[in-house]
Symmetry: C2
C-alpha cells in the first residue's frame, strides 16, 4: 500500500506528483520532498516558498522541516532567507550528525555553502500585498495575522517507510525571526513508520502549546484510526486551550497510518488533498462537525473556481 | 505544597533562591525565572548564559524557553546574542499575543527593543577555551561536541500553579544558528499545572526525536508517579532510538507533579537539585540502574570538591 495526504488545496499538484513516484515504488522521503517542492515553487501560493508573504520588515522568512519515519531523523530550518526550497535544506540537515535544526543567518549560510538554489523570494505580487497592508495598518487597527497556511504532508511508500515534511513563509507581517510550529518536532510534524505520521497547519503559537502532531501519532499507536486520532487530539486540545488560555485560533491537521488509512480534523474550513493505492487523488473540504467529529465532503467546482480567481486577483 | 527541581549541580544556588520565594508564596513563574537567572549570571558555568561557550565562529548563541502551566502560554528564543538573561526574554515573549518564539537577529532585536540587559557574553575564559579547541581541532580529529548542559527547571507554587523554563548556550562549537531542544515545546520542556512539568538536558538533536518532556507530562497525567514517568519515557525512547536511529547520545530529565513528588532519569551520570516543602534543598546524583530504573544517591563532598576545582581550573 502507498499513500499521501497533505494540507490545503494548494498541495494537490504536489500530491499528484508524489503519487506518481510512490506508485513506481519511490521512497517516502523523495515523494514528500517533491510534493512540497511543487508548492514552494508556485508563485500564487502566498504562504509557502516563492511568492510567500514577507515579515513586517518586508523580508520573506521561511520555516520547514523533514522527518524520516524509519530512523526518526529530523532536519529543520527557521527564518531562512532567499532559498527556493526550504524543505530540501531541511532534508539535507536531517542527514547531518549534529546541527539538524538551524535558524536565521546560520540556516541561510548552510543552504549557501551546500549549493542550494538561492533566489530573491519576494515576488512583485507579495511585495504589493505587503505595501498595501502597511498602508491599511497605518490607517486603522487591523489584525495583521491572517495568512499562515503551511503545506504539511505525510507519505507512505510501498516498502512501508513513511516520511513527513512541512514548509511555510509563516504569519504574514510577523516579527523578524518569528518561528511557528512548522519546524518544531511533535508540533508541526511527526512520523513513526510502524505507526503513521501527522502534520499541522494554523496558528503555530497555539499548536505548539499542545504538541498536536506527536499526540496524533501516539494515539494512532494505541490503535485509534487516523480519523479518531485527529478528532480526539484536535478537539480535546481546542477545548482545553479555550478553557485554560482563554482563546484558541486556527488548528487543522492531516494524518495517515502505516496501512494507508487517513484522517483530518479542523476548527475552521480546511481543504486537503489525499491519494492512496486504492483512492484516486482528490481534493476534499473539511469542517468541524458535531460532538468532536469532522465533516468531510468533496470539493465543489464552484469552490475551486472561486479559489483560482482569488489567488490570482489583482492586489 | 511547594517544590522545585532543576538539572545539574549548577542549578543548586538557583534552587535555593527559588525555594525561598516559593516558601513565601511566590509565584511559580517568578521562582523559575529567578532560578534560571542565577545560573545564567554565574561565569563559571560554561554551558549557560554569561561564560557560556561560543559556536564555531566564536559567537555565544543562547536558547531559552518559559512555559506557564496554568495557561500553557509559552515564550522561547533560539540563537539570541548578547543578552544576559535569555530566559527573561523568553518569559516576556510568553505574554505576547503572537510571535512567541523568535530566533536569531529577530530575537536579539526584541530583547534590545524591550530594554533587556545587553552585554558581551563571551568571557575571556570562554574565549580561551574556544581558541584552545580550535587549535586541538586543527591538530586532530576530535568530537567537538562535549559541552551541552542545559539548565532546565520546574516549579510548583503553594497556589498549585506550575511553571517550567530552560536556558543554554547549546553545543560547544555548534554551527551558527544551531538550535537544540531547549526552546522547543514538548522536547526541552512542558508543564500543565493540574498534572506536572518536565525539563530535559542532553543532546537536543536526539531529545527532539522523541518529544520527551511532553511524553513525561502525559504519562504523569495517566497516574504514573514522576519517577515512573521519567523512567518509562527516557529508557523506552533510548531503546527505540538505538534500534531505529542506530545510536543515542546523552538524555537526562527532571520532573515534578502537582503534589510536589519528583523524578529523574538519565543514560549518563546526572546531577540535579531539588527542594520541596517537606525536603530541604539538596544536590543528588543519578545513574541509569538495572531494568529501566534510575539509581539516585546523595552527592559526595569529594564529587563537589572535584567539580569546583574542575570548573575553575586554568584553561
Amino acid at each position: 500500500m502507498w499513500g499521501t495526504i497533505a494540507t490545503w488545496r494548494m498541495a494537490h499538484d504536489g500530491v499528484l506528483k508524489a503519487s506518481e513516484a510512490l506508485q513506481k515504488n519511490g521512497t517516502a522521503g523523495d515523494a514528500v520532498e517533491s510534493l512540497i517542492n511543487v508548492v514552494e515553487a508556485y508563485p500564487y501560493y502566498k504562504s509557502v516558498g516563492y511568492g510567500g508573504l514577507p515579515n513586517e520588515e518586508g523580508v520573506v522568512e521561511m520555516d520547514a522541516a523533514f522527518m524520516d519515519g524509519d530512523t526518526l531523523a529530523q532536519g529543520a530550518v527557521g527564518g531562512i532567507h532567499n532559498v527556493m526550497h526550504a524543505v530540501s535544506v531541511a532534508r539535507a540537515l536531517s542527514h547531518e550528525t549534529y546541527n539538524n535544526f538551524r535558524v536565521g543567518d546560520g540556516a541561510t549560510k548552510y543552504a549557501t555553502l551546500n549549493g542550494f538554489e538561492m533566489t530573491n523570494m519576494l515576488t512583485d505580487r507579495a511585495k504589493a500585498r505587503w505595501q498595501k497592508r502597511l498602508k491599511e495598518l497605518s490607517n486603522q487597527s487591523l489584525n495583521p495575522y491572517d495568512g499562515h497556511d503551511t503545506v504539511g504532508a505525510v507519505t507512505l511508500a510501498t516498502s512501508g517507510s513513511m516520511a513527513a515534511a512541512t514548509s511555510t513563509s509563516g504569519l504574514f507581517m510577523k516579527k523578524a525571526g518569528r518561528v511557528g510550529d512548522s519546524p518544531v518536532s511533535g508540533s508541526g510534524f511527526y512520523v513513526d513508520s510502524p505507526i503513521g505520521g501527522a502534520a499541522a497547519t494554523g496558528l503555530g503559537e497555539d499548536i505548539m502549546k499542545g504538541c498536536v502532531s506527536y499526540e496524533i501519532v501516539r494515539l494512532m499507536g494505541t490503535g485509534l484510526s487516523p480519523q479518531a486520532a485527529c478528532d480526539q487530539a484536535v478537539y480535546d486540545f481546542e477545548a482545553k486551550l479555550k478553557r485554560r488560555y482563554g482563546r484558541v485560533r486556527e488548528i487543522s491537521v492531516v494524518a495517515m497510518n502505516a496501512q494507508g488509512q487517513w484522517g483530518v480534523a479542523t476548527n475552521v474550513e480546511f481543504t486537503f488533498s489525499v491519494a492512496t493505492e486504492t483512492e484516486a487523488a482528490k481534493i476534499l473540504i473539511a469542517h468541524p462537525g458535531p460532538d468532536k467529529t469532522t465533516k468531510i465532503e468533496p470539493i465543489t467546482q464552484e469552490w475551486l473556481t472561486a479559489y483560482e480567481k482569488r489567488i490570482k486577483a489583482p492586489i
